[in-house]
């Protein structure tokens, strides 16, 4: 028993302390968070634009072509695996372009997330009563003013938990980026275990780091949800 524990200590030392291997975890965490953060922002921006195009088309019948493009975008992204999208961007689109792999990761995950978030936002728009939009119309408020001051704020409040889930999904999904050699958390643990031939601590520690991140995110989401829905 004691022997087992002292051996465990040694394995921990090998996996984390020796040769400053913990730096890989830090590097991995940094890249995971970086990609998730910027992809979440990019995804949200894309989704907002797409949702407004679709909603504007639905309300007025205008923007036919942009609406069709938006629908095709959502269809393609939701119909293909993220890894495939990453590979296409990396090996085909940016093949001969001087661009950091992290940027390729952010673009992939952002474009990917945008399609899912667009669907979430659409549900949020639908959740705002038709009557309020009609009241806004009869008061002479423009489409964009109505969107900005009434529909969007209410929709965001309603869909905030779903958006939060999407960020958590994104955080985990960035692990796909290890495939093109980005040192995110999974890749980091992989590097360490390939040196020590010991998977135990690298994987456990990686799991703990992910869990810690999602725990913090969950807290932030429920805090944000309460703030956004003060008026209910």
């Amino acid at each position: 028993m004691i022997e087992w524990f002292s051996e465990l200590g040694d394995r921990f030392y090998q996996s984390v302390i020796y040769d400053e291997r913990y730096l890989y975890f830090l590097e991995g965490l940094k890249n995971t968070l970086l990609m998730a953060f910027f992809a979440a922002i990019l995804g949200f921006v894309i989704a907002t634009v797409v949702s407004i195009i679709r909603d504007y088309h639905k309300e007025t019948g205008k923007l036919k072509i942009l609406n069709a493009i938006s629908n095709i975008y959502v269809y393609i992204i939701r119909g293909t695996p993220t890894l495939l999208q990453l590979m296409i961007l990396y090996y085909v689109v940016f093949r001969s372009v001087d661009i950091s792999i992290i940027t390729v990761g952010v673009l992939t995950f952002g474009i990917n997330s945008g399609a899912y978030v667009a669907e979430i936002i659409r549900a949020g728009f639908d959740g705002v009563s038709r009557g309020q939009k009609e009241a806004a119309k009869t008061l002479g408020l423009s489409y964009f003013k109505t969107m900005k001051s009434i529909v969007f704020p209410q929709a965001i409040g309603k869909i905030f938990p779903a958006l939060g889930n999407e960020v958590i999904t994104l955080l985990k999904e960035t692990s796909v980026a290890s495939y093109i050699g980005i040192v995110e958390l999974i890749k980091a643990s992989d590097i360490i275990s390939s040196r020590t031939y010991d998977y135990f601590f690298p994987l456990i520690i990686t799991a703990i780091i992910y869990l810690f991140c999602t725990f913090i995110l969950t807290k932030l989401i429920s805090f944000g949800e309460r703030r956004l829905n003060r008026y209910v």
């Binding site: 009241a135 009869t138 001051s149 209410q154 008026y231």
Partner: protein
Amino acid sequence: MYKIEKLSKSFGKNKILKNISLEISKGERVVIIGPSGSGKSTFLRCLNGLESFQGKIFFEDKDITKNEFKRMRHKVGMVFQSFNLFENLTVWENITIAPLSRKIEDEKTINENAKKYLSQIHLEDKSEVYPSSLSGGQRQRVAIIRTLMMHPDIILFDEPTSALDAEMIDEVLNLMMDVAREGMTMVVVTHELNFAKEFATRVIFMDEGKILEEGTPLEIFNHPKSERLKVFLGKIKH
């Protein structure tokens, strides 16, 4: 003020409004009565362009399907059965958002108007609360002053008291009376016949998408001609 020529409206195969022609002059208070499903709401919604339709509607000589109407749409106020206050905005924001955004007058005047109207409905102390913490009657009164803030030439009311508990109906009807006394042109769909008798300058009975009878409150309520109106009035009194 309004000139409606051969207005028809269908939802799919269902003909909801059939060839309605009507004129509404400034200062009139028109009450529309009729059985459920006769097209009263649809008629009001056509009047301010919330629905597409066949035929012609002119508001102050402007075709309401044209852009020139859209620019003056706020001149036609609308009060809904379900209030439709903006849920994420405070009472104050609800009543000031449209005049501020449309810049119909300077901010100082808008603020003064808002204060004046809030005190008229005795809700000065509620200006910072959200609609969810108001009673139905309070919400509807806020909805009414929200349209008044735009200085409309006419206000359309679609069953403004139907969603209210009995004890709140009067506070809304009284406010409508006050608005009427200021000379506002109003078109009101309602089942409150006692109110209609006192309030209306003209009553229209709609049935199956047509105007079946129209006249003064006295003519309509005390001397109904058509059988259907008699049946309708008989039903509603009980």
